[in-house]
Structures are given as structure tokens and as C-alpha cells.
Symmetry: C2
Subunit: 228 residues, 2 copies
DNA sequence: ACAAAAGTGTTAGTACTACACCCATGA
DNA sequence: TCATGGGTGTAGTACTAACACTTTTGT
């Protein structure tokens, strides 16, 4: 019984994931998602939180942690039978590189690049499912706000959508749509010019988590697939 | 490592679930969902299929089996630590009552009634999540067709929606919407008058599993909740 | 003054809701 | 012929995409 966590963020204008270079067999030298075994007195969600904290430091609370899949093919771990539950963490850009405890080398990598690598175990599938989950969550929930700092502009939020979905969105229409949803964005009253141009109003994430007017993606990405 | 399966169907115009009266401690005499432990050489999905087959006979292939949640509270089983993965099976009305192997007494019960019972373990939560999952799947996928026999009319499909969602739908609009979706329904060319009135065209489920023009529910039912 | 980004107006198209209406059968 | 359910037509409303346009800053 284990958990694996795909920690996703937006860094330098890219959609990135945190990977660990494995220092021991099996899959020595390969990249893997952070993960670990379930302790006797915790839930899987708590185990995932623990992993997130270990790998990224204390800034986990701003993020969002959701269960994605369960991986149970008997041969997925060559050592012994391990069923793993995967989580996706959507977090704001972490303040600095901070190597975790048990893993020597952690590195951020664009998700597309990561999906081109030979990952350990079935982590390619796990990452692929996590990314697809995140993409879908943007459509139906306020998950995108988890990638932003505490106070953000509408344009910054739009950039999250554009980067995760890899598609440009109409700035005007996006602004109208997103500000119209009741209690989705909560104005702070402040403005900023940090992105240049006319000052933009700052918002916090509001109460509304689930949205029903989908911010439709132009074309759905490939289908999900977990176990057979 | 266990699986629990909420087997749902439409029987006698009601949305029903298959429950088992437990014959031994813990929770002796209480109703529970069918379930069992994971064997060493199977995936969780295969274990769920096995449970479904054991409880309902060989008619499982027409149905639809999907993973819903993972339940990992350390104290959820009083005997020892058991993490359980839940599945929901959406199946057509089973041909006859057929008591399974390991359970003495199985019974179909309307889901609302079942959610009013004191169920064993955390099966109330599991059932509740499974029902909510099924309701949501009707909105986004062709899951409703899994409740119908192989060839069905548009009105029979509509009745599935109305029963599961507990809300009346406009027959004309439903017909138009559902027949417009590309490859969602595949006409058999036959017609039937088994529901009375003018002969209705018969359809099979088509290729399209995921639909993007949601058949919107008037008001969403309560939120999901799995582990803490 | 000009560039850049925020935010609003406008218009044409599309989908949905509600409900009227016609169609094809069994009794 | 009547009741029953299947299926289509239609008008008003609502949302959307595309894009023009105005606003407010920094340089």
C-alpha cells in the first residue's frame, strides 16, 4: 500500500512536475514521482500530504491535493506486490529549490518533457493520468487558483489555463466569464501593475469550488486509463 | 486490500442496489455491500469483476464497472487495518433473483431506502459516493445505456435519467438532444411498441462514451466525500 | 505620445426551454 | 375513435465567440 504524488506547478511560464532521480534499484538512475508507503495510523490522503511536505517544504497549505487513480497490476513493482494510490498536488510556484529528505536529487521538469522520459515503475501512466486529471479539473472547479499566489489578477489566472491547456484564450471573454461566476473570485480591493499596462484588480479564490459553466477546452485531450 | 462493489440497477421503475445481510461478526445482521479481498494475481478491477460475477451471475458483461473511491481510515474495520477500493457497477435489470456464493441473503433495495439503513462498516459513505458518481456519469458519459437492455428506445433511456436523477425531463427535448450527439446512439432499424403508443425506434449504445453537451441536471445533489 | 495590458460593448450564431402540435399504433 | 406514447416545429431566451473599442498605467 503506497502513495505516489504528482506535484504540479507553473514555473517560468511552463507546466512542470517534480521528479526524483532514483539512487537505488530497482530503476536506479531513472526518474520517478515522489512516493512512499502508507503508515499504520494514517489515511492515504495524510500519507500524500506527508510526501508533499517532505518534498516541497512547508508551503503545501496553499495548494490542492486530490486523489487520482489506483494502480494494482501485480507486476508493477518488480520487488513485490504493491498497490499504489496516486495523488495530484496543484501548488503555486515554490519559492526555491529545496531538496527533500529521502531523495538525493529532485528536479522540476515540464510535464511534456517528463512524459517523454523513461520513468520508473508505471509512473508514466500515473503522471499521464494526473496531468489529464488536472486539465479536467480546470474546466469544472477552481483548481486553477491553486497554481496562483494568494492574490492574483484575472490575467494571471488566464495564463494558468493557457499554459495547462496549451491553448490561447480570449482575454476579454475569459475576464467576463470568470468574474461573472458567483463567489468564484473575491476582490481584494487592491490593484497591481506587476504585469505592466493598466492596473489590474487583485482577487483571492472565493468560496465556489465547483463551477457549472465550463470554461470549455477547445478539444479534449486523450482519454483516461488506469488499470485494465 | 479489499474491494467493495455497489451494484446498481433499475428495477420496477426504481433505482436499486444489491445488499448482503451479514451472517457473522463484525456487524452481524447488518446490511453491507458485496466485497472481498484482493487476490495476489489480480488487479483491483478484476477483483471487482469477480465480486460482480459471484453476486449476480453471468450477465455482468452488459454492464459497466468503474472505480469510485478509496477508503483508508485506520479504524474503518474493527478487526484490522483494511484499505478498500470501491467500484460501482451499472447493470441492466438482472433476469432473476440469484443468491450468490458466500453470502446467505442478498436483496435488492431502493438506494434511498438503503441510505436510510444502518449499513456495516463505512458502507453508507461508500454507497453514497457510488450513487453520486453514477448520477454524475449520466451527465457526462453514456453510462445510462448500461442500465438498459441491449436494444432500447429513447424513452426507455430517458426513464433511466428520470429515475436516477429523480426529476422529470421534457420528452421532446431529450429525444432531440440525445439523438443529435454523434455516434451516441446507433439505430438498429427495428421498432417496438412494447411501451404502448406509436412505435418507437430501437437503438444500441454507440461508440461515443464521453459526451460534452451535458444533459444538465436541474440541481446538483450533495457533494462527494471520501477520506479526510 | 506611445506601447501595453485591463476591461467593456457589440453582433451574429448557436443551443436550450417550454410547449404546441402532428404521427402511428393498440384497444 | 380514442387513448397513449413517439417524435418534430417554433418562439423566446441565454450564453458564447470574435473582435472592436475604451481605459489606465509606465516609459
Amino acid at each position: 500500500m503506497a502513495v505516489d504524488v504528482a506535484i504540479l506547478t507553473i514555473r517560468r511560464g511552463e507546466f512542470e512536475v517534480l521528479l526524483i532521480r532514483r539512487g537505488k534499484a530497482p530503476f536506479e538512475g531513472r526518474l520517478a514521482l515522489p512516493g512512499g508507503f502508507l503508515e499504520v495510523d494514517e489515511t492515504l490522503h495524510q500519507a500524500a500530504e506527508r510526501e508533499l511536505l517532505e518534498e516541497t517544504g512547508t508551503w503545501a497549505e496553499g495548494g490542492r491535493l486530490e486523489r487520482v487513480g489506483v494502480y494494482s497490476r501485480p507486476e508493477r513493482d518488480p520487488r513485490r506486490r504493491v498497490v499504489s494510490v496516486s495523488y495530484v498536488a496543484m501548488v503555486p510556484d515554490p519559492p526555491r529549490e529545496k531538496a527533500g529528505g529521502d531523495a538525493a536529487a529532485t528536479e522540476w521538469m515540464p510535464v511534456d518533457k517528463a512524459l517523454g522520459e523513461q520513468l520508473a515503475f508505471d509512473h508514466w501512466q500515473i503522471l499521464s493520468d494526473a496531468v489529464e486529471h488536472a486539465r479536467q479539473q480546470l474546466e469544472r472547479t477552481n483548481a486553477a487558483t491553486a497554481f496562483c499566489r494568494e492574490a492574483f489578477t484575472v490575467a494571471e489566472l488566464r495564463r494558468v489555463y493557457e499554459i495547462v491547456w496549451q491553448t490561447p484564450l480570449d482575454a476579454g471573454n475569459f475576464h467576463r466569464k470568470v468574474t461573472r461566476i458567483e463567489a468564484f473570485l473575491e476582490p481584494t480591493g487592491e490593484t497591481t501593475t506587476r504585469d505592466g499596462g493598466r492596473p489590474a484588480a487583485l482577487y483571492r479564490a472565493g468560496r465556489t469550488r465547483r463551477i457549472q459553466l465550463p470554461l470549455a477546452r477547445p478539444e479534449p485531450v486523450g482519454a483516461k486509463g488506469t488499470d485494465a
